[in-house]
Structure formats: C-alpha cells, structure tokens
C-alpha cells in the first residue's frame, strides 16, 4: 500500500465539529492508500455542498464542479482518460435531488466510476432544508409543518436503474467504510456507495445514535444473502425503519461503457494525436464531389 500521508492536504476542514464528513474523508484517504494509489492517479469530482468540499481536504487531482453536476463531469473526464481512477463525491441533495437525472441515466451506462453520496438526509450547506432523503414529517425551514413527500430510496432506485454495484456505508464506522470504498473502487463499472452521514447541526433526527441503533452489517447476519440477485437486493434496499443494512447490497458484472467504445481501444483518448491523416480528410471531401 502507498503512504496515507501522501493524501493529506494543508487545508483545514470547515466542517462543524463532529460532522460525519470527517469520518468519510478519513476512509477515503485510507482506501486510496490501501489500494496503493498515488495522488496523481486519482481524480475526485465533486458537486457543491458540505460533503462536496471533501476534495479540498484530500491531496489528489480534484474538480469541484456545480451543485448536482459531478456525475456527467466525471463521466466525461473518465472517457477522456480512462487510466485515471475517477471518484465522484456528492451529497444527497446534490446526487439524488438536483442531480437526479444524471444519477438515473449515468448508472445505466455503467462507466467505471465510484459514486460516493454523503447522505445526511438534509441540505447542510444551505442551513437545513429538507432533502429528497429526508423522512416524511421532517421539520425544516422549508417544511415548517413537516415534509409531505415520500422519502426517496436511492438504493432501490440504483438496483432497479442499472447500477452494477450498490452499497451502503456509515460515517461512524471508518473501518467498515474504508473496506466498502475499496470494494467500490475495485469494482469495474458504476458503483454507488450511499453513506449515512450524521449532520450534527441540521439533522437532529438521524443522529449517530439513531443510526447505530439500527444498522447491521450484511456480512454478519444474512449469511445466505446473495448480492448478485437483483431481486433480493431490491427487497433488502427496503429495510429501513427498524434495521438498516450496511455493506454491499448488489454487485454484478457488466461491460463498462468504456469497454464498448472502439475509439478507446488505442488507449486514453487524450493521448491520441490531434493531427488527422490527410488522406482520410481528402477522402471525406471527395464524398461531396
């Protein structure tokens, strides 16, 4: 493995003390180190939000894009250089709310991206409005009488929508999370890692304790669980109120998008020469004679 400290950045995180994002940052660095990666071999593409600040605090290539727009930027970057390990960092509002359409369609294409969603079930950076993953009845400045929207189930959507790797992690369990991120980064194809991330400032419902009381490791219990069974994964994705499964819910093999693009067979697109063969161009001109 490479050295963890290689991934340390000088920047001081501006997250609130005890924010779940600290744990996720730690696990990200660990995972990269344990996968023996170097900072220049990794590109973190994030959106905008508290969670999306992660790339600032980790030394590696980074591109902080727009709120909800990390996925398409990341897919473009990956297509431009498929030798790069590209990891997408987003929040629940970012990745599932405003970014929902990219979520829905990028996973069908199965590019080799690891999509990390720091899911605190609230809009943190904008000071606490409800998000698509907020529970019905969640009180916030924009839902003073409680949210009246059925809470989204991103894992069930991902299993249904064509993701080839679907997992849930918990920011309060750095070890387990590191393992999960490594599995996601090793998976060839689109891997979703939804991370339960306590927002200590704006989500007083889904706290560390709230999660701890409910989560269980898929591995521990469901011995018989078959993560390659889409149907089983969909059912598992519905477990929530009493017990919440963490771990890999679903994983299958399917060719990645890059694998199916002939132009990428000759190596990374950005390395291919700009100059076109004169004969080819003349031949195309001739089509118009």
């Amino acid at each position: 493995m490479s050295e963890l400290k290689l991934f340390n950045s000088e920047e001081q995180p501006t997250w609130c003390p005890a924010c779940g994002d600290f744990g996720i940052l730690a696990s990200m660095k660990q995972a990269c180190a344990q996968l023996d990666l170097l900072p220049h071999q990794v590109l973190l593409v994030s959106g905008i939000g508290c969670g999306s600040k992660l790339p600032y605090y980790m030394k590696s290539n980074g591109y902080d894009s727009l709120h909800g727009r990390a996925l398409p930027v990341a897919m473009g970057a990956k297509m431009g250089n498929h030798d790069m390990k590209v990891v997408v960092i987003s929040g629940d509002g970012d990745g599932y709310g405003i970014g929902g359409n990219h979520f829905m369609h990028v996973m069908r294409r199965n590019p080799d991206l690891t999509h990390i969603v720091e899911n605190n079930q609230v809009y943190g950076l904008t000071k606490g409005q409800y998000s698509p993953t907020s529970a019905m009845g969640f009180l916030s400045s924009t839902s003073p009488d409680g949210s009246i929207e059925e809470m989204a189930n991103p894992l069930a959507m991902a299993v249904t929508g064509g993701a080839t790797f679907v997992a849930r992690g918990f920011a309060g369990d750095p070890k387990g999370l590191t393992q999960l991120i490594m599995l996601g980064m090793q998976h060839k194809g689109y891997s979703l890692i939804d991370i339960l991330q306590p927002c200590v400032t704006y989500n007083k419902i889904n706290t560390y304790d709230w999660y701890k009381e409910r989560i269980y490791k898929l591995a521990d219990q469901d011995e018989g669980y078959d993560a390659t069974d889409r149907h089983a994964a969909w059912l598992k994705a519905w477990e929530w109120d009493e017990k919440i499964p963490v771990g890999v819910l679903y994983q299958i093999d399917r060719p990645t998008y890059e694998d199916q693009v002939p132009e990428l067979k000759e190596g990374p697109l950005f390395r291919q020469p700009l100059q076109r063969d004169r004969a080819v161009l003349e031949a195309i001109k001739a089509e118009y004679y």
Binding site: D64, G76, K78, N81, E263, P268, Q275, L281
Partner: protein
C-alpha cells in the same frame, strides 16, 4: 439534392434551399432551382423552375417564379393552371406518378413505393427541358441509389429518369427559354454549413462531442457519428443538454479537444455549465445553431437572435469568444479555429450559426475548403516533458501577465491538478480574501484583451468610400453580398462590413470603418438589431437605419437591394 448535384457537375453555381415544415412527412416540400454562372451565395427571388410536391406549395411560391419560368406538375394535380399561366409562367403537366409507377411495377416494386420516384421524374423533366446532359442525372442517381439502396431501385430510378428526361427534351424543351449550358469544370463540393463546421472540428483534432438532439444542430453530431470510425471521434448522446456540456467539460479537463452542439433551448440549459468552464478555465467549443425564438418559437425556421444571449449568459462576468461564420468556408474555418482559441485562452468559444446556414447546401471549390490553412495551436499546454522538469508545486490558476496560466491535465506525478467553480487561489483552493479574488478576476479578464488581437477583423467588401455601408454578421453574408452586387450594377457605391468573428468585438477596425461611413444600414435576422446594439454599447456608434427580418425566413439579395433602395429601413 440529386438535381442540385447534377447542376453542379454541369459546372454551374448552385444554391439549394429545402424548405419544410415542422413535421416529418407530408407538409409542403418543394425544390427550387436558381441557375447562374457566378458564385451564388443566397436564394434569389427569381426561381426559374419550381418543382412543387404538393398544391399548397404552388400557391405559396408561385410568386417567386420569374416570367418565362416554369412549374412542373404531376398531370392529375388538382389546380387551376390559369393561375400560373396568367403570370406568363408555363404550367408543365407531366404524368410524373404514372411514369414512376409504370417503371416501378416493371421491376416488381409495390405501387406505393414506386410512387416516390415521381421526384426523380420531376427533376429529370426539368433537366430535359433545360438541356442538362442526361449523363449528369444518370451519374447522380447511380450515386444516390446504386451504392446505398441496391441496384434494383437504382435501375428503376434510371428508367424513370430516362423516360421523364426524354419527355422533357421532346415536349417542353423547344419553347422553354432558360437553358443550362453545361460547361467543363473541376469537381466541386456540395455541402451545408453544419457539415463544414463538423469537418473543421475534425480537422482540428476534435475527439469528443457530447450532445442532446436539437434541430438544426443535430447534423453536426450526426456527421461526426457517421465518420467516427474514420476520425476516431467519440460521440455521446446524453440525457439532456446539461449533461452534454458537462461531459464535454470533463473530457476537455482530461485534455481532449471536446465540443457540444445545440440550439437555443438546449443552450439555455447549458448556461450554468458555461460559467463553470469559464471559472475553471476549461477550453470548450459550443455550437449554437439558432432558430426562430423565443422559446420553442419557430423550430424549423431561421433567425439570428441569440447573439446578445451568448454574450451575456450565466451569472457573473468572464471572458468568452464568439465566432459567427457566414459562408461555407467560414463555417469550416470556425470549426477548427474555435479549438485553437479555446485552448489558447482557456475559455468557452461559441460558434453561432443558424437554421438557414445549417441546412442550406452550396457548391464550393474544394480548394476553398482549405486543409492547408488548418493549424493546431494548443496554447500554453504543458507536455509530459515540461512537467518532468517541474520542481515547485503546480499551480493550475497561476497569476500571469498575459492572464493565461500554463495548463496541465491530471495524471502527471509532478502536477496535482485542482480546480473549482468557487473563486480560488493559484493552486485551485477556494478563496474568500479580497486581494486574491481581485487578482484572479483581473487575470481572467486580461485574457479577453489578448484575444481581441487574435480575433479577425470584419470583412470589408466594396469601395472604402462607399455611399452606403451594409453591416451584417453570420449567415446574412450571402444575401448582403448579392444585394451589394445588384446595387453596384445599378451604379450605387456600396460596401459591406461582414462580422465573422464578433467577440471580443474588433473595436479598432469597427470604428475605422463605421466612423467614416456615410450612410450605414444594419441588416440582421432579428427584431432588435443585436449587433447594432453591441456596437453602440462598445463604441457609441449608432446605426439608426436597420433592415430587420424576424419572420423565420432568410433574406434574399434582391429583397435587401430593393429595401435599401426603397429606403425602407424600418422593420420589414
């Protein structure tokens, strides 16, 4: 297309414009031919032969046919010929469908399928009566069908052509005045503006286009898709235009020459991402094929109403470059130049075209489609060799006098590349402090001053000391050019200032020409006279006389000439 190709082969300049409604089939389609020995840049008011494929067309376009001209009708067409003949125009009735069916059935086609060959028939009659050598027709048909659709259909069409052609020669040739004197000539290209832009992009090494379909931009992508094997271009259709531009930004960030192409509605969805590209200084090429606005507007009609939008879109202030080609040659050049400018100035570059130019086919001398002119300039892009030598930490947004920061793409051990849509330090980390904010803002805006020297001056045609100066941009080049020749022929001293690269505005040349101009007429395919407004904003020069057209139709040369003479300088 077939007939136009035939004419071109015969060495004649051709400009064909297919007009169709926002529907897939049906609707009224027609084909108009205008013939001339000099290079034709626009449709003319004078149509010599009209080949309508339905009745609606006749009534709508009869007015455009010149006296002595002809309308070729399918014999059974229900229409009162006197409406035609009364205008001194020949109504030529040929059993087009009958011929088509007859020949078709011979080779065992269904009558319904055979029917469509009436177009071939109609074109062949026209060829016959205008003395176009039959070989031209034959050759074109063989190409159009022979290769693509299997020789059976080809032969059927040839049979139809032969029959119809002979009919044309025998029956109508004698008393039809307009003849096409075929003249030997070297081969020429028959191509539309979108293909020229795509070709230019390919020549510049574009290897990525992500897009979402939108008329009239889609053919740029479809051309690249059709040639992707030859050119090694990756074409990605996305879920929406937001994703389309963002994927292009991602690919460009990785070091690929990337582009997207859309029309107004799609561009509206790209607005936020354009700001991202500008802030992260990512080179990006965006084609906006304009159509009638606002909103869905006139989706299959032409307009030049996105100029102000493109100059001011997205929150905040940042440098951008806008190219506005007006000829096939300029489309080709814009196609490759856009990538050089994008990488030199690390900013978004727009190519503005429009429905008219995107779809209008023109014959040009292949030499004017100049591959030797193409240069590839990646600007201050650091090579692996450069980066190997790097000792201090790499700063993606380094403050420089030019405003241009040496650009590295992610992947080299010596250069961690970090960028963000937030205002940032030189190393890309977000900043709040005033001094660095100001320094980065100044740095970005400095690039625009530099780019201004790189932007090509507007083209001035005609005498320096003209009485009337016609000003335009983009696809109005053709009709204004035609108008200038017409007015010149009538003894007027007229020149034409054509903007093909409009932003940053070439202020020096603009003032030089317009400050001394006697009478200026601003000619634009929009309501507000957007170029005139921009010129006034930047130079104070006012152009009260405007010829503005916003009915979705392109100008014609005669129309402009007439209006300029009539002094009708208000809205048309």
């Amino acid at each position: 297309l077939g007939f136009t190709k035939a004419l071109m082969r015969a060495g004649l300049s051709v400009y064909a414009l297919q007009d169709y409604m926002s529907r897939i089939r049906g609707g009224h389609n027609f084909f108009e031919i205008r013939v001339s020995e000099r290079d034709v840049q626009a449709t003319s008011d004078g149509v010599h032969v009209l080949m309508p494929f339905d009745v609606q067309t006749i009534t709508e376009h009869l007015g455009e046919v010149v006296p002595g001209g002809a309308v070729i009708l399918d014999a059974p067409t229900k229409f009162d010929d006197s409406a035609i003949t009364s205008r001194g125009i020949k109504a030529i009735r040929v059993p087009l469908t009958a011929i088509a069916k007859a020949e078709g059935v011979k080779i065992g086609m269904k009558e319904s399928d055979a029917k469509i060959m009436m177009n071939t028939a109609s074109l062949s009659v026209a060829a016959g009566m205008t003395d176009l050598p039959y070989e031209c027709i034959e050759q074109v048909i063989l190409e159009n069908f022979g290769n693509k659709k299997g020789s059976k259909i080809a032969e059927a069409n040839l049979a139809v052509a032969r029959a119809a052609y002979d009919e044309g020669v025998k029956e109508y040739g004698p008393d039809f005045d307009w003849k096409l004197k075929a003249q030997p000539t070297k081969p020429r290209m028959l191509i539309n503006g979108n293909h020229a832009i795509a070709f230019g992009a390919a020549a510049a090494g574009c290897r990525w286009i992500s897009m979402y379909p939108m008329t009239p931009a889609t053919t740029v992508t479809e051309w690249l898709a059709a040639h992707h094997k030859k050119l090694g271009v990756v074409v990605k259709e996305t879920e929406d235009e937001i994703s389309a531009i963002l994927m292009a930004i991602g690919a460009a960030h990785s070091g690929v020459r990337a582009m997207t192409a859309t029309s107004g509605g799609g561009l509206s969805l790209m607005v936020e991402a354009v700001g991202l590209a500008a802030m992260t200084e990512t080179p990006l090429v965006i084609v906006d094929a304009q159509r009638g606005g606002p909103s869905t507007g006139l989706p299959t009609r032409t307009e030049q109403s996105d100029l102000q939008f493109v100059l001011h879109l997205s929150q905040g202030e940042f440098p951008r470059i806008v190219l506005t080609p007006g000829t096939i040659e300029e489309c080709f050049r814009a196609g490759w130049r856009a990538f050089n400018l994008a990488e030199k100035y690390q900013c978004p570059v727009f190519i503005l075209t429009d429905m008219n130019q995107s779809t209008a086919i023109r014959a040009i001398d292949p030499d004017r489609f100049d591959l030797d002119e193409v240069t590839i300039d990646r600007g201050d892009l650091l090579t692996d060799a450069d980066l190997d030598k790097l000792t201090e930490p790499y700063l993606r947004h380094k403050l420089t006098d030019s405003g241009i920061s040496p650009r590295a793409v992610p992947g080299h051990p010596n250069a961690i590349v970090f960028s963000t849509s937030d205002e940032h330090y030189e190393n890309g980390q977000a900043v709040e402090e005033a001094p660095m904010r100001v320094a980065q803002m100044d740095k970005r805006m400095r690039k625009l001053e530099l780019a201004e020297q790189d932007i090509r001056d507007p083209l001035l045609e005609g005498p320096e000391d003209a009485e009337i100066t016609l000003v335009g941009w983009g696809s109005t080049y053709g009709p204004i050019h035609e108008a200038r020749l017409v007015l010149e022929a009538e003894g007027l001293k007229v020149n034409h200032l054509h903007y093909h690269e409009v932003w940053p505005l070439p202020i020096a040349r603009t003032e030089q020409v317009l400050k001394n101009a006697r009478q200026i007429v601003d000619i634009e395919n929009n309501f507000t006279g957007q170029l005139a407004l921009i010129i006034r904003m930047m130079t104070g020069i006012n152009m009260p006389h405007k010829l503005l057209k916003y009915d979705g139709r392109p100008f014609t040369g005669d129309e402009i000439a007439r209006k300029v003479k009539e002094g009708v300088l208000a809205h048309v």
